[in-house]
Symmetry: C2
Subunit: 348 residues, 2 copies
DNA sequence: ATCGGCATTGCAAACGATTGTAGTGCTGCT
DNA sequence: AGCAGCACTACAATCGTTTGCAATGCCGAT
């Protein structure tokens, strides 16, 4: 009775809030169904009536309850974006590559009228992905990176069509992927070093993830095809920001100056490598040449500027959303493999 | 009639899917209400019955429809994270600072059992935020950055309690913010340069956003308190990755060597500045010292390593989620201002 | 005058869960 | 034997939309 907010409905131009379609229908002197149609802009309702209803809605700032609409129509307009953190403990999400891809996905989804729900999961059991796709909140799912969760992803793909995964496509694999030809990418990077006369190469990266393993394989292809290069060594280096510096430092100390070229599995690893080499007084690329992978925006701002293998992240994001849209419509799409491109700057 | 999937229900170990609670109830020989309670683990239902129901649900991989649940309970468990791109046209989302904050928000929200829905909006009209909070899908909203949208945010805050914003707190402001004392931060950065004997300072940043304006004001405070330093100059520099390099290059060319210290409004701007100075043969910090702002993870990997003003991003994210939780419960929380911290590395 | 056809609008049944209330059967006490 | 009390479960209303179908009123044509 003494509340301050009840008496003057017309204060500040914002009328008392309308709770639901029925209330608005009563105000407009029509039925709820008509209001629903009017708000949806359907042509079945008289233009004049429609205008009037829309005017009232606008005036009161009314918007129909999405939850009810989605329950009724059985579609949510929400796409789940999932980042599985299988092989990395911490902070994976701030990885520039994931973030760049994520940003482009957000763009593409927004553009196609979808909402985006983020699930950042640390796979504990083998049900994590099932839980997400069965939540009943999603029209489809995009998985960023296979991590070491191929089995869980494959299991869901057997029964759940609207899912697209960023990563590698393996022979006989059911789930639909979008990704770069990582093997070719690794080949390009190593070949660049070989072309520059480097012969004692090493690979920095965690081969637990299939993408990375492919990059190493590609680099080894190039080395194997070279007559006078010794076999390529691989040093495990995780992708998480926290661990890279000490791991790379350890590798560099251990390797000493018996190397003259480094193929890094990502630009982030390469950035740290560049800094540590600089601090050790090693000249890049004269003493040791370094290549990255991804070509994230920040890679253009390193000292020296990073030579890297470019993935078309924006194009990949668009492809993922396209394929997903098709799959939501019931089409069983094939995987997409994009060509990598060597971007030569200064570090190699 | 000739469908391939109907005859053998027990193929591959995964039983035919249960569509809803009623179906499961029929299978278990109980009513829907009981199933609902059993699945929720309530104690009102017989332990044995509960076990049996849960077993059936597990076996068939059944999970209750979230949309229906949320419609009925009138709460969604979803928090909207909004990134307004008012003063930047493109690609803002891949900004390392936003991404780091976003990652920590994702952590904190996941931990508190919330889902996260991302809305990346380019404010076209003055209703964009209204549309989001009125969508009926959200328990609350977190806004990352005020951009130049103070008015729109303030308007919504008048009537919508569960919203917390990352940014600056202004006198008399209604909406609840979490942020760093940007003025103090700017002061710390400039003071560091002054302490190193630098006198001809310049500020790189876009003062259209209130946070950045505060940083410049703080830097000017420090300069004004110094007897022999001329007034500080400010060069507008946008935050988007695409534009930074050419803008900074333009500033450096224009300024020539009449400066010896640069206060950058963000680490990203600082990174580009470092690279461009290096390419021009300018030594950092001997000839020109450079400070950043934010202390994003990548800032530790620059050459030379970046001296910067640290924001406690992880703590800020936790604070935002804490405050939002309180506001969802109806508590009118005050803003939180965190202390910045100067992190001295090599660039200044 | 009657009726077919058209443009609108109202009615009511879904969608799938949650939850207050009422009902059931059983135990144990008097 | 009768009944209160207990533990459990069924019933049915509810959340707020959407949408197929029926109903209405009005037009011109026969």
């Amino acid at each position: 009775m003494t509340e301050t907010s009840n008496d003057k409905p017309a204060r500040e131009g914002s009328k008392p809030r309308i709770r639901n379609i029925a209330e608005l229908a009563r105000m407009a002197g029509v039925s709820a169904g008509t209001v629903s149609r009017a708000l949806a802009g359907k042509s079945l309702v008289n233009a004049e009536t429609r205008e009037r209803i829309q005017a009232i809605a606008r005036e009161h700032g009314f918007r129909p309850n999405q939850m009810a609409r989605r329950l009724r129509t059985q579609q949510t307009g929400v796409i789940g974006v999932v980042i599985p953190l299988g092989h990395e403990r911490r902070q994976h999400i701030s990885d520039p590559f994931f973030m760049t891809l994520f940003g482009h996905l957000a763009d593409a989804l927004t553009e196609s009228g979808h909402d985006l729900m983020l699930s950042r999961v640390i796979p504990g059991d083998d049900e994590w992905l099932d839980r997400i796709v069965d939540s009943g909140m999603l029209d489809g799912a995009l998985v960023i990176g296979q991590s070491n969760q191929m089995d869980a992803i494959e299991k869901v793909a057997e029964r759940y069509l609207p899912m697209v995964v960023w990563g590698s496509h393996r022979e006989g694999q059911i789930h639909c992927t979008v990704g770069t030809d990582n093997r070719l990418g690794g080949h390009l990077a190593a070949q660049r070093l070989l072309d520059q006369g480097k012969r004692r190469l090493v690979f920095f990266g965690d081969t637990g993830a299939p993408e990375i393993a492919d990059r190493l394989a590609g680099a080894r292809d190039a080395v194997a095809a070279c007559a006078d290069a010794p076999e390529m060594r691989a040093c495990s280096t995780h992708l998480s920001n926290d661990e890279i510096p000490e791991q790379v430092a350890g590798h560099l100390d251990e390797l000493g100056n018996c190397i003259d070229g480094i193929v890094c599995a990502s630009d982030v690893i390469a950035m740290t490598t560049l800094r540590l080499l600089h601090e050790r007084g090693v000249r890049v690329p004269q003493d040791v040449a370094v290549t990255g992978f991804d070509d994230v925006p920040i890679a253009t701002q390193t000292v020296p500027r990073l030579t890297t293998v470019r993935q078309d992240i924006a194009g990949g994001a668009r492809a993922m959303v396209d394929l997903l849209t098709q799959r939501i419509a019931g089409v069983e799409t094939p995987s997409t493999i994009m060509a990598p491109e060597l971007v030569v700057r200064e570090s190699a």
